[in-house]
Symmetry: C2
Subunit: 584 residues, 2 copies
């Protein structure tokens, strides 16, 4: 039985950074070769980053991707790595981008994979299944491929596939099975969702069974605007055995030896409706050298740890990839801003985090104390800017009352944070949670001000769980828990008028979040929520709040997606919409 | 030769307002019947409004659409209109919404058309061609139909089609031609773009030739978030003769008598890959009564008139459909806010428009005078709120300099406008033009504050053309030109520091707009722009400004789309993107 030493490179490319992404491939191919790996696989759209959206329509962008691919092949050979087989995702095109009726249905941009070896692009494969739901719009951008590529490497037939190809039964994996391959490589840019790791392993197992073959699944990590990629790369045997699994949210090179069946079939042509092309890798293939440690199967994280790492990585990459030197946020002493501050300190270090207490006359003493306590616990750069003089200036020159005065305070805080951003170069972090965003419990251009919101997709009840988890984690490690206990236990308040509590305007968050999760994540309508046991009048009130808050959500800062239905790319609703759930 | 009296109802539905939209159908069917019309056609997705986006995924929404359709059929009969054949667009579904791998490929939501008669839904047709480019995402939402429906009405074979079906050759129109129909009805929700009327008539002519039949094309009017629909309904003979054409941007009932060939064929089954079903309208058809005036062919508007009407209708419908009582905007005396004020007065009446002069110490005397002059000319509600006391309060309590102080002024203005909105209930209008938005020449949460921006998609050079056109139009009508001549002729300035001019930061707008239009509308890259004769260094500078302003554009208010590439639904780019045009 032939043996093949493969490496899966779980790395973090940046959209549009062709030279940086190519450098990542060269560095990790070098590291893989140093372990004696013969075949190294990098993620989907490695050279461009993912998703590139309408950049697909720019000829110069497509040209840059193709140029980067051929340069990479040559550079790898110049690096002395020409004898390694390298699988890498990129953007290709065999015709102009499709634009409706004018499109050539058979030609256009392609979500492509290339096999590099000996300084050459040995073969390319175009993704068959283009996802066009949730955060994906690939029908808008790409033409699907229709041919499966099978490459004989060291006597083993290896089928090459891209991402969604693995989510669909009866596609390239089924044909790979009919064609009798020994290994299917599947390269991915598959975004994180809470518990998606529970979905992926059974999926890869089903496809390994369908292909009757080992499956090597490599996924990207990192943050890209609202998406976070969690890695979770793995290798699964034909019988479903999990042979190796990479950690989540971290760069990793997963290297292992595979005993694979020798290639026996030379059947080509059409398998059902799909064409199959075979080729044999010419030239020298690096010989495996030295012994490997047994392959690792990394344990999955708990829910809280997983979400925390997603938020940290999402923020870290947004800051780094957009070249911000530091962040600033308002610290109210409440749970949301405390959790965001702790995430920011974990992501980029407390030295790069400025926290500003912005007390008004309605701010309680404990709010100021809790903010100062948080600053002391984390070591972030702490300032205090009382807002009353500015608020008073507006009140003295305008006739304002009620909610206009409440919102004024939040907006003065927004102006101060933006002024600090302009003056000192910080990215402003927004700290509104998903429950607030859902019902519009925030001030437009006030507390919603900012460039990135780490907890945009986190329900309030999960914000509390995260705080408790992060503090316990610190205690476990013998470190100071970052979040003041009082910020976790006190009742939430916007403190925009005397004695105000969130529960004046909203139901208890445990009740609210259950309704919101049903309506938004579960697409339950009013009747479904009532059938699930919720109070009908409360359901009506909450649903109306959600429906009317669409404009605020449109104006909100991006943040890491951790749920199946994040506000943003995922969920697209008209602002102008008279439909009301439950109305007859 | 049989004669059929048809009516095309060019009307303005509201997304999600099932009862209101059904009431529009009943009212216009009554009016059409009063002229003796036998067949009345309403636009695509008439009962739901268009586009409904992710509302498609809500079962209660689909159920409401189907219920509204059947109720409408019964109500029309109860109105004594059961003998009129009514064609109407709605949302149907024969299975749950498709969600990737789990979808049943043959079942799901449908962009549907129904023929109502005698209190019944006589037949339904599902749109074949689903646009998935530009502002359209129909592959995400709908399953395509595969059957053509031909209904014999008063001895004439009438084929029923929806919108994109007319943009594609070789589809339902070709099969209608093979099946020998006498009339093709095509119902639309086709958004406005400058000069789209020049595209539509040749398109309808090509399809009339392909079907060898009269084509009745009915389109919707109105504003829906960023989209404006212009109507432009028309009837074209098989030989390309334009028989009738409705005005743009106005409700209209286009009624005419058509001499049509008697039906002769009964061929059914498959024409190529498409199934054809035939049926005959049973029961009484209303007889045409009385003589009609000759059909009208309304002249198209000039470019400036067309854009002006698009902006007015887009704003009017946003205000009306979202139930705002009034609007407020800042008046700087400059061209942008003056044009927006004039649009607002045309849209909802000067009584409902509040204009606020927000002078700083850097505001020139002429700026205040020009703002006051505009208020006097238009009759809008005028106030003055000097910003210096509030600006000084921030400066006294923070250490700010340079651009932080410049932006502070714009943000204080934003806070004042939002406070007036909270206090008095106005919708805040944003007044930044497309050129500014493209290069990021604006203050985030400052002059970009607001709920709707009438000139979001208008290049600065077009803003000037619109001002001149609107003033000339007033003069032609013997009215006071709304826009002060000085606002049109003075050099543009943000007035955020002494003596500041836009040309300190930007090239002359004629040069800038030419580069921007090439880059954005034309998808020309850096090299293409240089080949077109632009200065390479300037091109590099402008393209870099555009690429870096993506976040500001994401945060901008919606506004009516008038170009092929409006910022918003149309053009989807990552914020985090390291690709630079021209970089090697």
């Amino acid at each position: 039985m032939p043996q093949l030493r493969i490496a899966l490179a779980q790395v973090d490319p940046t959209v549009g950074d062709f030279s940086g992404n190519a450098a990542i491939v060269r560095e990790h191919t070098r590291r893989a070769a140093d372990t004696g790996a013969q075949l190294v696989a990098f993620p989907e759209m490695m050279l461009t980053g993912y998703p590139v959206e309408d950049l697909v329509f720019r000829e110069s962008f497509v040209a840059a991707s193709r140029t980067a691919l051929h340069r990479l092949a040559a550079d790898l050979a110049a690096d002395g790595l020409g004898d390694v087989a390298v699988v890498v995702g990129y953007l290709d095109a065999d015709g102009p981008a499709k634009l409706g009726a004018d499109a050539d249905p058979g030609r256009g941009p392609r979500n492509a994979l290339a096999l590099l070896h000996g300084g050459q692009v040995v073969t390319t494969y175009f993704k068959h299944h283009l996802p066009n739901y949730g955060v994906f719009d690939e029908d808008r951008y790409f033409i699907p491929g229709d041919t499966l590529k099978i490459v004989r490497i060291a006597g083993v037939d290896v089928a090459l596939t891209v991402c969604e190809d693995i989510w669909q039964p009866g596609g390239p994996f089924a044909v790979a099975g009919q064609a009798g391959v020994g290994l299917v490589v599947n390269i991915n840019s598959s975004p994180y969702e809470l518990n998606k790791d529970d979905v992926r392993l059974p999926l890869v197992r089903r496809r390994a069974a369908e292909a009757d073959s080992v499956v090597a699944y490599v996924n990207v990590i990192g943050g890209q605007d609202e998406l976070v990629f969690d890695g979770d790369s793995m290798v699964v045997a034909a019988d479903g055995t999990l042979l190796a699994r990479a950690p989540q949210f971290a760069e990793h090179l997963l290297v292992l030896d595979l005993d694979l069946p020798a290639a026996t079939s030379d059947a080509v042509g059409d398998f059902g409706e799909m064409a199959v092309e075979r080729l044999e890798l010419a030239g020298d293939l690096r010989a495996p050298s030295g012994a490997l440690l047994p392959p690792t199967v990394t344990e999955r994280l708990t829910d809280e740890a997983e979400v925390w790492q997603a938020l940290v990585l999402g923020l870290r990459d947004y800051v780094r990839k957009n070249r911000f030197p530091s962040v600033v946020l308002g610290l109210s002493g409440g749970i949301d801003s405390s959790v965001v501050a702790a995430i920011a300190c974990d992501a980029i270090g407390a030295d790069n985090v400025a926290g500003v207490s912005l007390p008004s006359t309605y701010s309680s003493e404990h709010s100021r104390d809790d903010a100062a306590d948080l600053a002391k616990r984390t070591g972030l750069d702490y300032r205090v800017v009382p807002i009353q003089p500015m608020v008073d200036a507006f009140k003295a020159n305008m006739s304002l009352s009620g909610v206009a005065v409440e919102n004024l305070q939040a907006r003065v805080r927004g102006v101060i944070l933006m002024a600090l951003s302009n003056q000192e170069g910080h990215l402003v972090l927004t700290t509104g949670n998903k429950s607030e965003l859902a019902v519009g419990y925030s001030t437009l251009y006030g507390d919603s001000v900012g460039g990135f919101n780490p907890i945009k997709d986190v329900w309030k009840t999960m914000v509390w769980r995260l705080a408790q988890w992060r503090n316990a984690e610190a205690a476990r490690r013998g470190e100071t828990p970052p979040i003041p206990e009082n910020s976790i236990t006190k009742p939430p308040s916007a403190e925009l008028r005397p004695g105000q509590l969130d529960t004046d305007s909203l139901p208890d968050y445990a009740v609210l979040d259950a309704i919101l999760a049903g309506y938004i994540d579960g697409d339950l309508g009013r009747d479904g929520l009532v059938r699930a046991g919720h109070d009908p009048a409360l359901v009506d009130r909450v649903l109306r709040m959600v429906d009317l808050a669409e404009y605020k959500r449109r104006q909100s800062a991006p943040g890491p997606k951790i749920s199946i239905k994040a506000f943003g790319r995922d969920r697209r609703l008209p602002i102008t919409n008279r439909f009301r759930e439950g109305a007859s």
